[in-house]
């Protein structure tokens, strides 16, 4: 393989590696190539990559090579993290939300009964994300608060109204056939 053929291969390997990739690893993957040839190609590649003066740079770090962002752009990364979409839910929150969506209005003790585990922190997350709202109190001992899904819930899950929620039956036939 020529040095020019080697370079893009080295570039992708450096890019996909979770840790800085060591030369030793590169020799292993490219076992047909001379280590000296690989060394030279990596050096040239890094020089070319960095001469672009782009936002990314290729650096040797902790005995390996990696592609990272140049330090001067850190504030934009912070700005990105702040605006990062956070419509993601943990499995516990998702299960709790599912119970509330399908059994609403429902109280915390009832959710505990159905899920078999305490759901207080999940309820807090769902309230913070405005996916659920309190819907009055249940007329029984202790008058616990009942919860239901919000308008925000419909928006995030792309539903016109609650009747659009698929039912268990809709999916049961899929699983059995």
């Amino acid at each position: 393989m020529t040095k020019e053929e080697l370079k893009p291969i080295l570039e992708v390997l450096i890019f996909v590696s979770e840790e800085p990739i060591k030369l030793k690893h590169l020799y292993e993957i490219l076992a047909d190539e001379e280590p000296a040839e690989i060394n030279l190609a990596v050096q040239e590649l890094a020089q070319e990559f960095n001469s672009r003066e782009g936002g990314l740079e290729m650096r040797e770090i902790a005995g390996g090579w990696r592609i990272s962002t140049r330090p001067q752009y850190h504030e934009y990364i912070r700005a990105y993290l702040k605006t990062k979409p956070s419509a993601k839910l943990s499995l516990a929150s998702l299960e709790t939300l599912a119970v509330i969506a399908y059994k609403q209005p429902v109280t915390i003790p009832e959710i505990l009964e159905i899920r078999g585990v305490s759901s207080s922190s999940a309820i807090k997350t769902l309230l913070d994300r405005r996916l659920i709202v309190p819907k009055g109190r249940k007329e029984c001992v202790g008058r616990p608060v009942m919860y239901g899904t919000s308008k925000e819930f419909l928006i995030q899950f792309g539903l016109k109204d609650l009747s659009e929620l698929p039912s268990i039956e809709d999916f049961e036939e899929l699983a059995t056939t």
Binding site: V16, L89, L94, A98, Y102, F157, S167
Partner: protein, 251 residues
């Protein structure tokens, strides 16, 4: 047609010898696929299908499937009925009340031809998708960065929601079934269960017996049964020091 080749390889293909001819029995996705195959094999113009001939071949194929015990899906039988219906319509003489010039009589094959053409289009589209996904499977994105780990949770769609609800319901049902199953256990049954344990070992730590209990009721039953076993002199209980472990020993 790479896809077709693959489907045939994956399907249960048999090559039995029938009437001296080598018959290749392919498993088709559905009746439309079978029809398209017959049309292609016979090099027939899709706009002018000799319906009697194709119907016969279609039925022959179904009976062949039957001979080799291949389950015939109801979709295939519905299509057989449709073919026979079209065939009989075509045998009817033209309605004399309609004047010949109007040409108002629609070809009975028209709807079927449209469905076949529509189906073929989607088969071609599926091939296009196959090519695209092949390329994209060879594309990689960067490794996880530290900042990704701040949000390792799962993105959710309505399907995830119903799947989560189903999981919760299944779990709840299982727990209820377990409770019910154990509540019906009588003391005699519990006795048998514990006696069986003592046939394997001469002594058992009774905290282990309690740990095996699957519900509160089961726990109480275990306790009562141990007392009964002591009363019947099947086992004796010893405790080598105050507050130490209690061991049941077979007499």
């Amino acid at each position: 047609m790479v896809l077709e080749v693959e489907a045939i390889e994956n399907g249960s293909e048999t090559e039995p010898q029938a009437n001296g001819y080598k018959v290749k029995l392919e498993v088709f996705e559905g009746p439309l696929d079978l029809l398209l195959y017959l049309i292609k094999k016979e090099e027939i113009d899709i706009y002018d299908i000799p319906i009697a001939r194709i119907t016969q071949q279609y039925l022959d194929y179904l009976s062949l499937m039957e001979q080799f015990d291949v389950d015939i899906a109801s979709d295939f039988l519905v299509m057989a009925a449709t073919l026979i219906q079209i065939k009989s319509k075509m045998l009817l003489p033209p309605d004399p009340t309609i004047s010949g010039q109007e040409e108002a009589v629609e070809d009975p094959r028209k709807e079927l031809v449209n469905r076949l053409l529509e189906h073929k289009k989607f088969k071609a589209a599926a091939e296009m998708l196959w090519t695209k996904v092949q390329v994209e499977q060879e594309v990689f994105t960067r490794a996880l960065l530290d900042i990704d780990k701040e949000n390792t949770e799962i993105a959710a769609t309505v399907y995830d929601l119903i799947a989560a609800f189903k999981t919760v319901c299944d779990r709840q049902r299982e727990e209820q079934e377990m409770e019910i199953a154990h509540e019906v256990m009588t003391m005699e049954q519990k006795m048998e269960e514990l006696k069986a344990l003592f046939t394997d070992s001469l002594e058992v730590n009774i905290s282990r017996l309690f740990a095996l209990a699957k519900s509160r009721t089961d726990l109480i039953m275990t306790f009562l049964t141990i007392l009964e076993l002591v009363k019947e002199s099947v086992v004796r209980l010893i405790q080598d020091r105050p507050f130490g472990e209690i061991i049941a020993i077979k007499r």
